[in-house]
């Protein structure tokens, strides 16, 4: 057991740190607009040119063949340099779409997309969820019908993050409605500029519009963009979901540093909040939780550096993050007392945004309840619930719609 860097790791960290401080730039002014994705692309290209992009990828696709531990070290330094947000925004592209292409795509698909992704030339979105199928993803209805060398897609996706900024999407659609639910799906790569494809932003509870509805009206996809066999879409989707689990494991903040500074700077009674015993107790709990997530993440990384694939236990990260973060953020706002409702004067409106955005942490990428099912069944080996949809043809399964 060793939480320190080896000499080699230390010099890698130092090199990463100095490259980052020489190359980082201020992107915050462009946060909510399309310019933000320009910054995401620019940062990806800079990293690629500097030899720091897609570190764990093979060189032939634009990576560095680096050890997983180096990826972790670079991510830590990127966080410290304040540039992590740009890479987090690229999680769907790199951690999910590219990871799926890398594992399940054919060599043509890899050659076509991976080097471009590595250079920041392609942004991707995930076209999985539908109005009637989120947790129960295999219940999707968007149709894929074979027509010569093409597939014709009709239907609707929803909650598609960053679809409006994306060049491509990974799409799962139903190619055979008379097959059993999990058997009739096929997986595609779709050009977001295709005729018949329409993106409509949805306004979120937190105010912005990161996610969208995506409509398919006779959208044609060449068969060469099919990933895996016809009817094999569920297996390919699971590859995406497994990678999603690992990719999102540590991207959400625990905000401890912020609440510590808040407690230091917020007046309470005769002194500052940090002098109050109830506040100290809150801070201690918050820190223990934050360290637990961090140390657990390090254990996962340590497994990965020994070549193990992160299993379903990685679901712990997001499960332990969301609900607790929501509770703590609520308590942080309580600390502000009469002043809590409007923080614009203190320049600290970030607390309000965080309290609203955290709602989604418990839903996106697998809801809390689904994660508990995964941990219960796949980690602890508990029996699944009785199901009515397993061996029935998809078009004979009862639905509400």
């Amino acid at each position: 057991m060793n939480f320190d860097d080896s000499a080699e790791e230390a010099s890698f960290r130092a090199a990463a740190g100095s490259w980052l401080s020489a190359n980082k730039f201020d992107y915050r002014t462009s946060r909510t607009s399309e310019n933000f994705f320009d910054a995401v692309r620019k940062w990806q290209l800079l990293k690629h040119e500097g030899g720091w992009g897609c570190l764990h990828w093979p060189k032939e696709y634009g990576g560095q063949d680096a050890a997983p531990i180096q990826t972790l070290i670079f991510a830590q330094e990127e966080q410290a340099a304040g540039m992590a947000m740009l890479s987090v925004a690229n999680t769907i592209t790199i951690g999910m779409a590219a990871a799926t292409i890398m594992h399940c795509g054919n060599s043509q698909q890899k050659q076509r997309h991976l080097p471009r992704i590595a250079r920041g030339e392609e942004v991707w979105c995930q076209l999985f969820s539908e109005p009637a199928a989120g947790s129960d993803l295999a219940g999707i209805k968007t149709r894929a019908v074979r027509d010569g060398d093409d597939w014709v897609i009709n239907g609707q996706k929803v909650w598609t993050s960053y679809a409006q900024y994306s060049d491509y999407g990974i799409l799962v659609a139903r190619s055979d409605p008379s097959a059993a639910k999990h058997k009739g799906l096929t997986f595609f790569l779709v050009d977001m500029k295709s005729p018949g494809l329409e993106v409509r932003p949805i306004k979120q509870a937190s105010g912005g519009s990161d996610f969208n509805e995506v409509y398919f009206d006779n959208v044609r996809i060449p068969d060469s963009n099919r990933v895996g066999e016809e009817g094999d879409g569920w297996r390919v989707s699971l590859t995406t979901l497994m990678n999603e689990r690992a990719a999102v494991a540590n991207i959400f903040p625990t905000d401890f540093e912020q609440v510590w500074n808040l407690a230091r700077e917020t007046p309470l009674n005769e002194g500052m909040a940090i002098e109050d015993s109830a506040v100290r107790s809150l801070l201690a709990d918050w820190h223990v939780w934050s360290r637990g997530l961090k140390n657990f993440g390090m254990r996962l990384q340590s497994d990965m550096s020994q070549g193990k694939v992160p299993g379903p236990e990685a679901s712990i990260c997001k499960l332990m993050l969301g609900a607790q973060r929501q509770t703590y953020l609520s308590e942080a706002l309580d600390l502000m007392d009469f002043g809590g409702p409007a923080l614009s004067n203190s320049g600290d409106a970030g607390w309000h945004f965080a309290y609203l955005r955290v709602i989604a942490n418990r839903i996106e990428g697998g809801s809390d309840e689904i994660l508990r099912n995964i941990i219960g069944e796949r980690v602890l080996g508990l029996p699944s619930e009785p199901r009515v949809d397993k061996n029935t043809p998809f078009n004979a399964i009862p639905t509400a719609l």
Partner: protein, 381 residues
């Protein structure tokens, strides 16, 4: 970086587990719980013979000098087995106090006997319920020359105090608290059994009337805190083993027990409860690992790591112990089922080294110190 125990350490774990499964069944625990034996002597001799008592004590003082990571592995297995032996008092507290503050004569005199299991120790800090400031402590030490002190006061409850050979006593000299080593086999010491929440680890009330003792290390709170920090990490591993046992017990019962025509583990109310127990335990385990590393390297963050490990595993163990009983239903409330042994032990370990409130305060103090050293707020995380 590597956040796992080594292959050798894992091998030690599986040997320890096998040994304890055989030699420390719950029947062994119950014999101490239900009788007036202070601990299980056969198990204690066997544990000493295996060298566990000396695993982190340097060779020059009769130990094996293997290291703290190995001691953490052993602690986890002892906690899993609820071992009814004075291991924590003798090793994490008495031996550690000597290693921290003992003069070379004191170390030479006592450590070899602790390492061999011949001498057992106890840690006498509490004076009844409550958390008074150090200077309100009633036990006093008064110098009588030659490095000797006269100790007066009553300590209760003292874990393993009934038959221990030596005690590390916290006492005030001129308002300053310090650690004093007292040979308990002297006339000026009287001890009686105190009823306690977990009588598989009996407690004593000890009265010192002009008992003779020697000081360990510099007087002051810092020495006591250092001892508590080190012991907290080792006890955290006992807690980890116990919590893991509770979860395993509950998971296997949830697979076997049927109600409404289904295994109860297929109901989400049960499945999600178990998933939550597991998730909380894994974060706590990760914090324990960090603590083990800090202890084994004497890292500057040791104090913070100790508080983090102790707070998270105390909460996880308490939760696993109570929810494991809930999953068992009526049988969970029987004397016969082992679940209550863990429920008792989890509470004992939760308070024996100080309450969560105390450790929350310790944690914030160490973060404040770290901030002061670093000179800026941002370093705290």
């Amino acid at each position: 970086m590597n956040f796992q125990f080594s292959e050798e350490q894992e091998l030690l774990r599986s040997q320890a587990r096998k040994f304890l499964e055989k030699e420390c069944s719950s029947q062994v625990v119950r014999e101490v719980l239900e009788s007036d034996q202070p601990f299980d002597r056969d198990l204690w001799s066997a544990v000493a013979e295996l060298g566990w008592t000396g695993v982190a004590i340097p060779e020059e003082f009769g130990g094996l000098g293997v290291g703290y990571l190995e001691l953490c592995v052993i602690a986890e297995e002892l906690g899993r087995a609820l071992a009814p032996v004075p291991f924590s008092s003798s090793i994490y507290l008495a031996a550690e106090a000597l290693l921290l503050g003992g003069s070379s004569t004191q170390k030479q005199r006592w450590l070899p006997k602790i390492a061999s299991g011949e001498t057992t120790g106890a840690f006498a800090i509490a004076e009844g319920a409550g958390a008074p400031a150090w200077n309100r402590m009633n036990t006093k030490a008064e110098t009588c020359g030659d490095g000797q002190f006269r100790i007066n006061g009553v300590k209760t409850p003292v874990l393993d105090g009934l038959k221990a050979d030596i005690a590390i006593v916290v006492a005030l000299e001129n308002q300053v608290p310090g650690l004093y080593l007292v040979d308990l086999n002297q006339e000026n010491v009287t001890r009686t059994l105190e009823p306690s929440i977990d009588e598989s680890r009996p407690h004593a009330r000890i009265t010192f009337s002009d008992a003779l003792g020697e000081r360990l290390g510099k007087p002051g709170v810092a020495t006591i805190r250092q001892l508590l920090d080190r012991a907290a990490i080792l006890v955290a591993f006992e807690q980890l083993g116990g919590a893991d046992a509770c979860l395993q017990m509950a998971v296997s019962y949830a697979k076997e027990r049927f109600a409404f025509g289904r295994a109860i583990g297929s109901f989400q109310a049960i499945k999600h409860k178990l998933a939550d127990m597991y998730a909380e335990l894994e974060l706590a385990r990760s914090n324990c690992f960090f603590g083990a590393w800090a202890l084994s390297t004497d890292d500057p963050e040791l104090s913070e790591a100790a508080a983090v490990a102790r707070l998270s595993i105390s909460r996880a163990y308490t939760n696993c112990a109570k929810e494991s009983i809930q999953v068992h239903g009526g049988i969970g409330f029987t004397w016969e089922l082992d679940a209550h042994l863990y429920y008792r032990r989890s509470k004992l370990l939760n308070v024996a080294l100080g309450s969560p409130a105390r450790w929350q305060e310790y944690l914030i103090q160490s973060l404040e110190q770290k901030e002061e050293v670093a000179g800026n707020h941002a370093r705290v995380a």
